[in-house]
Symmetry: C2
């Protein structure tokens, strides 16, 4: 009685995941090239969590450190700590609660009984937890199925696309407001504070990653963290940010100029913009990511900024900012309908600055849908 009551009381605060649960199990097993009876996903301590645990279970809330999901083609079960019990139960996932790590091992042993082979997600499982699973899975074969899980996760399901679109919508609205939110003299962290604030006022759970606001020469560093630098006239101001919404994220970059730009800055911007738009134009289901990367890269390498585009054109996006999938010179991957990827060429000149323009796109049969349709004009702050 009590737990039914809680369900009713909490229901409105939660995304009702139960409808989607079965589809994620189907997705994982449909793309499985290895024969396993179940997949065991186990979280370490934050930040070492397995994002596929949340993909498979659909649980939108909670941390779930040390918790385990056992996924079979028919059902997903969670072995949860008491701390996360409510999150698990109210998501409609079958849940067993462990009271101690020894108890957790026993529950896992019991649930794995009778299985001959289980899959693990080696790319997101800590080695320490691998050893724990191995111990509990006596006589059972452990096979790495992380590539199969990645293949499943690359093709976004309708409920995932809804959440990604919401995260993208939030970032789009924010991107267009940047010139009103940030001014000359503001520090990078102040700028980041304003962007995060607006994202959350629009319903984001939080920033998808450390909001990178980089002024001047710092914009040449792709994974920059904001500092106390103040925005000065003539500097690039690069904003790389995204919203998290029900565990799904967006990832947008826009580069502005403080005051007036000089010819070199304009040329950098125009080169990157041309490369980005050409890459987007080249995207459709069936094309190779390598080919799309080459479209963007060759535009930059034909310009005076040859060799200054030092990363891939794009990466998958979903439950994590670097989700499976890539538009990369280093990876021969065919783009498929339902994939969500970033398109983000850039040009970086050490000691001078960088320009990056990044959108998120959903691959369609004949092209792609731009999920972050904020302006790409070279705007001043």
């Amino acid at each position: 009685m009590e737990s039914r009551l809680i369900n009713l009381l909490y229901r409105d605060a939660y995304y009702s995941a139960s409808d989607d649960l079965s589809t994620k199990e189907k997705c994982i097993f449909a793309s499985m090239k290895t024969e396993v009876d179940a997949v065991v996903l186990m979280n370490g301590t934050d930040p070492n969590l397995d994002t596929s645990f949340f993909y498979a279970t659909g649980i939108p809330n909670g941390l779930f450190e040390g918790c385990i999901a056992i996924v079979t083609p028919k059902k997903t079960e969670v072995i949860s700590s008491e701390l996360e019990e409510l999150s698990a139960v109210t998501s409609g996932v079958r849940t067993a609660v462990f009271e101690s790590t020894e108890h957790r091992t026993k529950l896992l042993e019991r649930k794995l009984r009778g299985y001959r082979a289980i899959g693990i997600n080696a790319r997101e499982l800590t080695h320490a937890n691998y050893l724990k699973i191995k111990k509990a899975a006596k006589g059972i074969k452990l096979l790495d199925v992380s590539q199969d899980i990645e293949n499943a996760r690359m093709l976004k399901q309708p409920d995932e696309i809804v959440r990604i679109k919401k995260a993208c919508k939030i970032a789009t609205l924010v991107a267009d407001k940047i010139p009103e939110m940030v001014s000359e003299g503001d520090t990078e962290t102040e700028g980041a504070a304003e962007l995060n604030h607006m994202m959350m006022r629009l319903g984001a759970t939080g920033p998808a990653f450390v909001t990178a606001v980089a002024f001047g020469a710092s914009s040449a560093e792709p994974h920059y963290y904001p500092g106390q630098k103040k925005l000065r006239k003539g500097q690039f101001a690069l904003f790389d940010f995204g919203a998290e919404y029900k565990r799904y994220v967006s990832d947008v970059t826009r580069t502005f100029i403080c005051g007036e730009s000089n010819p070199r800055q304009r040329e950098m911007y125009e080169t990157v913009l041309e490369a980005q738009m050409a890459a987007i134009d080249a995207i459709h289901a069936g094309v190779s990511g390598k080919e799309v990367d080459l479209v963007a890269r060759s535009i930059i390498d034909r310009s005076k900024f040859r060799g200054r585009f030092i990363h891939s054109t794009g990466h998958g996006l979903g439950m994590s900012v670097h989700d499976p999938g890539a538009i990369s010179y280093a990876r021969d991957m065919v783009l498929k309908e339902g994939m969500v990827l970033t398109v983000e060429p850039g040009v970086y000149i050490k000691g001078f600055g960088g320009v990056r323009i990044e959108d998120d796109v959903l691959i369609t049969k004949k092209g792609c849908q731009i999920l972050t349709p904020c302006t790409k004009e070279f705007r001043s702050i």
Copy 2:
């Protein structure tokens, strides 16, 4: 010449880590009970990063996915992707840049040559990366030294304490302003937006974790994520949040009442407050964390809220919110001078609500220093 120039150009934007670098290597090897020539720390893809990579290298910026740190008693070297090169180099860490994963393996092989045994951090290393290190370390013994690393990280060094104190100071200032920032009718995510905004305006890089704002019955869930619930009169409003500052974090919880409290709510609050203050009073170097946990727990278990304190009294704090160390009934750990821990008893009643009061403390010889001295009065919003 170019790289020296960049160093000068970028210096002011970075924390100069070079002074502390040698101390971290010393700390790791001083607490090493296993004989190894080096420790190899390797990051997976975000969020599966090894926080000890950043502890050992002291690098304050960047993501460093797929990057490797090789720590010996005398030096730390980083094998970095080009994306993070600038972050690594400007932090004063010896850096080799890899151009492809094959190149990374070759660099690692070369650097490990001549070693007989290397340590790995199994608790934060993915199993997939464990296999990569194993392959590169042909004929070299791989030994799990994660417990040794934890032991080193538990005792905070002066430079770490400076950063933790700054993160705590930010959270303290925010906690005291909550009644002015959040009002009846606001949603949980709006509340979280305001807290995060103020933290960042005060210099935080971002929130240390998803800012948990929980109204009413949701406050009974310790790891709650904020939703669209609106604050109503008579409800608890629980705020669990922290600031990240140069990779170090704070973690504070304060619980308020919207409007007037009823006797049951007051009794819950007073019980938790009594337990929290008694636990803090019981802390000093040399005491067992288990004993401190019992002090808090027995106060709650003597009250009508017996059994409603469903987690440990505290956890370590530092580069991650759940850093090594615990004040827990489940762990026999002696508290030592220089440890930083949370003290956070709570009472949770499903369907009704929860109260938690959390401070961060630095263990001293004779007691502890409260790093988050914000008011603990039962205040109304």
